[in-house]
C-alpha cells in the first residue's frame, strides 16, 4: 500500500503536479502514520509567522522586480563599462560584474538573462567577441550572483538551517560573509577566461574620465543601494530584514516617484508578479516545515546518517558524493525547493562528517548555481533560448566551457572550507 502511494506521488511529481501539494501530501501521510491530528500540519505551516527574517524574502524580491523593470540595468551596464571598458576583455568583465550584482539583488530567477543579457549580448557581438562565447557567458552569468549579499537563496538557506538549531549555529549574517570569497573566486576565474577569449583590439579604448563621471551621475540614485546593503549587513548597522525594508522602500520611491520609470498604472501588476513568486516559495517552505517535523519525528536524519556512515567512511568521500548529488538536484529542482526539501536532511549528515553548516550552505548554493545551466534541464538554458531565440542545444554547447570552469571552482569551494569560513 505504502509502495503504491509512493509510486503514485513520484508519478505525479514527474507529471508536473505542484510541488507544494506533493510535499503536503507526504507530510499529511506522515502525520497520520504517527497518529497525530492533521491540524498539526497547518499549525506547523503557520510557523512561517514565527520567523523574523522571513520578511526579507518578499521585500528583496519586490526590490528586484522593481529594479529589473526600471532602466537600472542599462545604467548598471553603462557604469561598469565606463569604469572597466578600457581593459582587455573589459566588456566580458563588465558582463560578469553587472550580472553578478544584478542577480544578487533579484535572485537567480532568470531575470538577469532577460534584463541584462538583452543589453549585453548585442554589445559583445559588436565588439567582435565570438558568438558562442558570448551566448555561453550570458547564460552562465544568469546565476552568478547567488553567493552575494542580499541574494534570497542565501537568506532562505539561513532560515532553514536556523530551524534545525545546529551547533555551530547558522545566522543569515554568517551566510552573507561566507559567500563573499567563493563568489569572488568564481567571478575571478570567469574574468580571466573572458580576458583570454576576448578578441584582439587594434588599439585599446582609452579610459574616459568624462564618461565615467557622466555614468556615475546617471546612476546616482542606484549607487547608495550597494553601500546600504553592504554597509548595513557587513557594518552590522542593520539586521538582514531591516536592510530589506530600507532597500524596498528606497527602490519603490526612486523608481516610481523620483525617476518615474515605473508608471503607477504598472505598479499593481508588478507587485502581483513579485508576490506570486514569493507565494510559490513560501507555500513550499510552509509545507516543508511540516514535512521536516515529520521527518525528524520519524528519525529519518539519524537513519540516513547511519546508512551513509556504513558506505562512506571519510569526509572527502562524503563531500565528493555530495557534489554529484547536488548537481543532479540542481538540474531537477530550482534552488528554493531544493533548499527547503534537502537541507534539513543534509545538515545532520554533514555535521556527522564534521562539515560546518555554513560551509555546507555555500557548497549547496554553489552547486545549485551550476545546476541552473546544466543540460538537459537547467532552467536558465530555456530562458536564454527563449530570450535569444537560439536552440537549447546550441546554448548547451556554448555554456560547456563555463560549466567546467565553475565546476572546478565548486570543487575548490567544497574541499577548501577556509575559503568560506575565513571571514566568519
Amino acid at each position: 500500500m505504502t509502495l503504491v502511494l509512493i509510486l503514485a506521488l513520484v508519478l505525479l511529481l514527474f507529471l508536473g503536479a505542484p510541488l507544494f501539494a506533493l510535499i503536503a501530501a507526504v507530510a499529511w501521510l506522515g502525520v497520520r502514520a504517527a497518529g497525530y491530528d492533521q491540524t498539526l500540519l497547518v499549525a506547523q505551516f503557520y510557523g512561517l509567522t514565527e520567523m523574523p527574517v522571513l520578511i526579507a524574502i518578499p521585500l528583496f524580491t519586490l526590490a528586484g522586480y522593481l529594479l529589473s523593470e526600471s532602466l537600472a540595468p542599462a545604467r548598471l551596464v553603462r557604469l561598469t563599462e565606463a569604469l572597466l571598458g578600457w581593459l582587455h576583455g573589459g566588456l566580458a568583465i563588465v558582463a560578469l560584474l553587472a550580472c553578478a550584482i544584478f542577480t544578487a539583488f533579484t535572485g537567480a530567477s532568470g531575470v538577469t538573462i532577460v534584463a541584462i543579457g538583452g543589453l549585453l549580448l548585442p554589445a559583445l557581438r559588436q565588439a567582435n567577441y565570438p558568438e558562442r562565447f558570448s551566448l555561453g557567458l550570458i547564460t552562465t552569468s544568469g546565476s552568478l550572483g547567488l553567493l552575494f549579499v542580499p541574494s534570497v537563496p542565501l537568506i532562505l538557506y539561513g532560515i532553514v538551517a536556523q530551524q534545525l538549531g545546529t551547533t555551530p549555529a547558522v545566522s543569515i549574517d554568517d551566510m552573507f560573509l561566507a559567500g563573499v570569497l567563493p563568489g569572488l573566486l568564481m567571478l575571478a576565474v570567469l574574468a580571466v577566461y573572458g580576458m583570454w577569449r576576448a578578441p584582439a583590439r587594434r588599439r585599446d579604448l582609452p579610459f574616459s574620465a568624462r564618461e565615467a563621471r557622466a555614468a556615475l551621475w546617471d546612476a546616482r540614485y542606484e549607487l547608495p543601494l550597494p553601500i546600504l546593503v553592504l554597509g548595513g549587513v557587513y557594518g552590522g548597522f542593520f539586521a538582514a530584514s531591516e536592510v530589506a525594508a530600507v532597500t524596498a522602500l528606497y527602490v519603490l520611491l526612486v523608481s516610481v516617484l523620483i525617476r518615474r520609470e515605473i508608471p503607477l498604472r504598472r505598479l499593481p501588476e508588478l507587485l502581483r508578479e513579485a508576490m506570486m513568486l514569493v507565494g510559490a516559495i513560501l507555500l513550499i517552505l510552509g509545507v516543508s516545515l511540516a514535512l521536516t517535523n515529520v521527518i525528524i519525528d520519524a528519525e529519518v536524519p539519524a537513519r540516513m546518517v547511519h546508512w551513509v556512515n556504513q558506505h562512506v567512511h571519510s569526509r572527502w568521500g562524503f563531500l565528493l558524493l555530495l557534489n554529484a548529488f547536488l548537481i543532479l538536484l540542481g538540474m531537477l529542482l530550482d534552488v528554493f525547493s531544493a533548499t527547503v526539501l534537502v537541507v534539513p536532511i543534509l545538515i545532520p549528515i554533514a555535521l556527522h562528517y564534521g562539515v560546518h553548516p555554513v560551509h555546507l550552505g555555500i557548497i549547496f548554493l554553489a552547486n545549485m548555481q551550476i545546476g541552473y545551466f546544466t543540460p538537459p534541464v537547467g532552467m536558465n538554458l530555456f530562458i536564454a533560448s527563449y530570450r535569444f531565440n537560439t536552440p537549447v542545444l546550441e546554448l548547451t554547447r556554448a555554456a560547456l566551457p563555463f560549466f567546467w570552469l565553475l565546476l572546478a571552482c565548486v570543487l575548490v569551494i567544497t574541499y577548501w572550507p577556509g575559503l568560506s569560513l575565513a571571514l566568519l
Partner: protein, 160 residues
Amino acid sequence: MTRVGKRLLVWLNRLENTLIATLALLLVLLSGAQVLLRLGNHGIVWLDPLLRVLVLWLAMLGALAAARVDKHISLDVLGRLLRGPARRFVRLLSFGFAAVVSAMLAQAALGLIEVDREAQTRLFGSVPSWWAESILPVVFGLLALRFLLRAVVAGEEPVP
C-alpha cells in the same frame, strides 16, 4: 463556462489583484517606517508580529494568484513533452491532485482556527490569533477551487 461564472471570476481576480497590491505596498511602507522609527528608538512593539502576519497573508494571496497562471513550482518534465488529449489528461490528474490536497489543507486550517479560538490565543495585545489564521482556510479553499478549474480549463483565465 457560463457568462455569470466568467463575470464572477473577473470580479474575484480584480479583488485579488487589488488586495495583493495594497498589502504589498503596506508591507513596504510599514516595514520601512519601523526601521526608521527604531533608529529614533521609537519602534512600535506590535508592528513586528503584524508585519510577520502580513507576510503570510501576502504569500497566501500570491500563491492563489500564481495558480491562476500555472506559476506554481513544479517539475514539469513529462508534461511539457505531451500534446493534445494526453496533455489534457495529465493536467486533469496533477491539478486534480493539487485541488484535493488544497481542500484537505483548508479543512485542517479550520481545525486550527477552532483550537485557537477555544484556547483564546492572542497574536498581540487583545488581537486573537485566529484573525491572522483566517487567511489559511480561505486561500486553501479558493486554491482547491482554482486548481479544479485549472484541471479542466487550459490557457489564461479572464484577467481584467
